[in-house]
Subunit: 240 residues, 4 copies
């Protein structure tokens, strides 16, 4: 059984009526619902209210996959919390960063870059093109995914070159974006997926859900400490 | 004229007689000397004594290439200092991390991983093989570089997969290492180069010097702020 | 002085009036003209009429950079000619493949894949976004290049994952494309650049010219046979 | 049930007594035996005697994974045969190239480079280090694999930079090698694995067998024609 931890900031949905109309129970509840329908899993939810106090080392050590959505309250996540999350990724916990989590503290820490980008919020059309059709995250997806309305995220996106670039996003207003980026960091896998503005029902789209389910499967640990069981340690001469 | 900033911790050379015999004026003075002999440059030196107080934002903004050697005093470099250095790399400053700088705070911050490795200090032979013969850092180097005595640094090395793997190190005692690793991070280039234990005259080896000179040339900024001149900013629809 | 060899199929310009109106002296003459204006170079031109008979081993051995444009007559280039070109790339000759040269025999041979793509010829707008702003090929280019009219080339593009993805193309009709792809193959560098349909004056656009000039500089050999001076050969035990 | 096709040249084992003592029924029979013991599969065997006549398009279309071992008779494999094998890889067939298959025609065709290397046959010790510990091919393998006797294959190895470098080989005589290289080519996956000289019982080593079994699982098709169902074709404007 997969242990999944979802962090959803959960501010927009409580503070903005239009957003609440789209996600009345929060983005996390939509994520939880379609993941539970597909996977044998146990899901824990954290929000900006309790992430610093309750997303403990113990919880993270018991997490296979951590999914992160944040936007306006990145700064309310303590540096220590972000460090804990990143450290567990390096030890093998999978991590999926959704949409504006590109500027969340754990993601920036794992990438080492500013993770800045260009954006525009006019609800324009997006088409997500598969460019790595054999990547596990793209399985069951056709050649592309269409989204009637999304926030534009555009290049230049200041990230390390992905280990695999899985999706490139096309936006009606003239921009492109590296929308699906796969990384290994330490013993953990990381997937960044751009769609998911809080004002649109993106996470209710079956193709978007399929990508996230695939990503859960792909980042789930294959082995955790094995290669790191004597980190930064002295070793004898091999028997040669 | 190239503005170069060298950070050398400068503790081993002052505290250990055997090390002082190899580098009587510090590792930095050997680096400075062969770089000045080759490049039109101005070099500033910082040590653990003044790195936190004098390696200021102004100095870094006036630096093209920052070279970093540290080992036993990584913790004495303040987090704020490390953050300053990393931030300037993202803005375009080149950076070269030498030997045990693999666990320096700025390098770990730029990589996002633990950067741990296996090591052994028995003065064994190393052979550095060129595996990316067209990389600018490998120019003028033959097929390999031999070092009679080096500290062994061995896999698994917990780094992000390099953008280019330039050298693989062979150690007599049975280990291998990704010894020359090239990265882009933000608008800056980063090169990690493994040789350079403080007890051996590695930095006096002409081939090692050639690699470092090449690396200085390669990481020197080609353009700095251009692509980042409106970081994380809203942009209008293109005129289409 | 740079020795440059341009292959332009030169059929459209001679057989189609509309195309001749854009490139009256052939695409090659426009390429030649802006390259000669910028570089100390000697340029040789070959077309489908003489490529098999005159683009000899001797010419290729005396070529630093080979630029290739072909479209409707790929099959008229003999397999032996394609093999010669590819072999010289592996020995260090730089190569730039333009537009529909994505299905030329030498490019397919160097890539090892089918190099197929989706296309549409309606003269739609293209915007080429820089995604690797430090790559030598992107120097002096701003954040993007706009082309009023181009043929659409779209994903999925069946190429090996580029060593560096430099440009992503956006097309008004809804598609994206990996438009600027940099590779090392053997001792040679290869750059594929998508713009350049024969019906539009793309090669007269100063930004497109700048990219091609940059590419000429980047693929020009840095060293040729060095690493291959004993290819597939037996070697003795090292002196260890 | 997995359809597996093994090509073993099968000349050394029939022509050299010492080799026959190690692999009395041919390398293929050892491969077949440990794969059948682990996988639900049907295995077909081809040798240099029938590869050109019997390894047909129909067989390849019915193959999930093709394993290739060849050495002294690469030239006896017809160009058409090699083209067929490579074409089926591009359509989704997995391929594993073992040891001296690095210079087999299908491998060279898929790589686009010369695939030359340095070699030495003195039966020296090899240690294969895992450098991508999360790669599916490295699962269940510890930090390294030791082989008492192997042929040395050394850098520089003229291959395209692997999508993932999984193993680096250390050889007692002073050389290193990129011994485990993973690629995507078209819709197919390719794994090159260096160990397996015909004079040593390498394929009877349980760790080597584990790597090959992992590779069979990894290269087995995840989806085949999907992304290529309209190769090089015209497409209409998207509905935007």
């Amino acid at each position: 059984m997969l242990k999944i931890t979802i962090y959803n900031e959960y501010k927009h949905e409580r503070e903005d009526e239009a957003c609440a109309a789209v996600y009345p129970d929060g983005i996390h509840s939509v994520l939880q619902s379609f993941i539970e329908a597909d996977k044998d899993c146990a899901i824990r939810i954290f929000t900006v209210d309790n992430v610093n106090t309750e997303l403990t080392d113990e919880i993270l050590a018991d997490t296979d996959v951590c999914i992160w959505w944040g936007h306006m309250a990145h700064e309310l996540v303590a540096d220590e919390t972000a460090a804990r999350v990143a450290e567990h990724v390096l030890k093998g916990m999978g991590a999926i960063f959704l949409h504006s989590a590109h500027m969340s503290k754990p993601f920036i820490r794992l990438m080492g870059t500013s993770c800045t980008l260009k954006w525009r919020e006019v609800g324009e059309k997006e088409i997500l093109w598969v460019v790595d059709p054999l990547h596990p995250v793209a399985q069951g997806i056709g050649k592309y995914i269409e989204l009637e309305h999304e926030e534009m995220y555009g290049e230049h996106f200041d990230i390390p070159e992905p280990d695999s670039l899985v999706f490139i996003g096309w936006f009606k207003g003239g921009n492109v974006f590296r929308s699906g980026c796969a990384y290994r960091r330490g013993m953990g896998r990381v997937f960044y997926f751009q769609p998911g503005h809080e004002m649109y029902p993106t996470y209710k789209n079956p193709s978007i859900q399929k990508v996230i389910l695939n990503a859960v499967g792909w980042v789930a640990p294959v082995r955790r400490i094995d290669a790191l069981d004597c980190p930064q340690c002295e070793v004898p001469i091999m028997e040669i």
